[in-house]
């Protein structure tokens, strides 16, 4: 149990890479990239967790109580925004590829070789 989140993060990363490499559909490929991104969230949050401590919101707990690490959560929020924006760009590219070539299969994209 104690190392499970880290293992999950590594697993997500690797399975995301597998998805990207063997993908047959560009949209599927973008989602796999998003899986890789999720692995970093899991890792960050697992690193920040402290056993038995509350969330770092002092609205109802007295100020100064030791709490879970807020820096990591802030980093994660930044990461989510980064992920969303990269996803938007990748999906826009996928849409345009479909529009121009009629296919979403990476195996059929043969314009750039050598």
């Amino acid at each position: 149990m104690s190392y499970l989140p880290y293992a999950v993060a590594a697993w997500l990363f690797i399975i995301g890479l597998y998805g990207v490499i063997t993908s047959r559909n560009l949209v599927h490929l973008c989602i796999c990239v998003s899986v890789i991104q999720s692995s970093s969230y899991v890792l960050l949050l697992a690193i920040g967790y402290r056993t038995g401590r509350p969330a770092p919101v002092y609205a109802d707990i007295p100020a100064g109580t030791p709490a879970v690490d807020p820096v990591v959560q802030a980093l994660m929020l930044t990461d989510v925004v980064v992920e969303v924006t990269v996803m938007a760009l990748l999906l826009a590219l996928a849409v345009q590829v479909h529009k121009r070539l009629g296919t979403l299969d990476p195996d059929r994209l043969r314009k750039l070789r050598g």
Binding site: S2, A55, V57, A67, L77, L89
Partner: protein
């Protein structure tokens, strides 16, 4: 490379990568036992020094506010990029890739959908504004609230047709709003410098902990970011939907 070779190659690499991960984990403390002087320090100073009860927002918008500026501009640049990518070109292929089955007529939304969507519209806007403005008090903030706010026009789209949606959210206004939100962040930072501090230093009056007006610049930055994020998402939605419409109208 052919597919089977690539997959095999990957399995070898993945095994090595997993080994690397495992080796690095062997030096990590188990879940819940990591320590960080940075995190503990932040937790102890957010309330006394900045009157902010949500430590995560304090880190995001105050202590590491410059990161968030960069992040906001990532969103800005990406929305700009999506608009650039999806723009109409003069040599667009006509009549080719339709987004619906041939001969199908897309029906006007049913009454049930319209009522539900329109009913949820105002609570959504209110909820979004609540999250944006309470960023420094409870979990939330500009980004989160901005996303919620941006779903309100989407609900409107669900309840109506695309031309009506576009009439309600004119692209020029949305673009301008997004740019205003983005520049507001820098502007606030500049104001802080003018008032004698460093860039983005929190020099405004800090207010009473736990009320809406607390945390100084954080509250203002939250509003700016909320504006930018919601405008950015609405703009992206507009651009994507327009892409669909090109196909449908043929």
């Amino acid at each position: 490379m052919t597919r089977p070779i690539r997959t095999l190659f990957f399995f070898v690499s993945a095994a090595l990568l997993a080994l690397a991960f495992w080796l690095s984990y062997s030096d990590l403390a188990p879940l819940g036992r990591n320590t960080s002087a940075y995190g503990d320090l932040v937790n102890s100073i957010t309330v006394p020094q900045r009157h902010i009860t949500d430590a995560v927002t304090a880190v995001n918008f105050d202590i590491r506010g410059f990161d968030t500026l960069g992040e906001e501009f990532i969103l800005f640049a990406s929305v700009l990029g999506v608009v650039l990518l999806m723009r109409r070109r003069s040599d667009d292929p006509m009549g080719d890739h339709e987004d619906k089955a041939r001969g199908r007529i897309v029906p006007y939304p049913s009454d049930a959908v319209r009522v539900t969507a329109l009913l949820l519209l105002s609570p959504m806007v209110l909820f979004g504004l609540y999250i944006v403005s309470h960023g420094q008090l409870t979990p939330g903030g500009g980004f989160q609230g901005g996303v919620v706010l941006s779903t309100a026009p989407l609900l409107f789209y669900l309840a109506s047709t695309y031309p009506q949606f576009r009439a309600v959210t004119p692209p020029r206004l949305i673009e301008a709003a997004e740019a205003v939100g983005a520049s507001a962040y820098i502007f606030i930072g500049g104001v802080c410098m003018a008032l004698g501090g460093q860039f983005l230093e929190n020099v405004l009056p800090l207010g009473k902990t736990g009320t809406l007006v607390s945390g100084g610049t954080v509250a203002l930055i939250d509003l700016g970011v909320g504006l930018e994020v919601s405008a950015g998402f609405v703009l992206m939605m507009l651009v994507y939907l327009e892409e669909l419409m090109e196909a449908k109208e043929q």
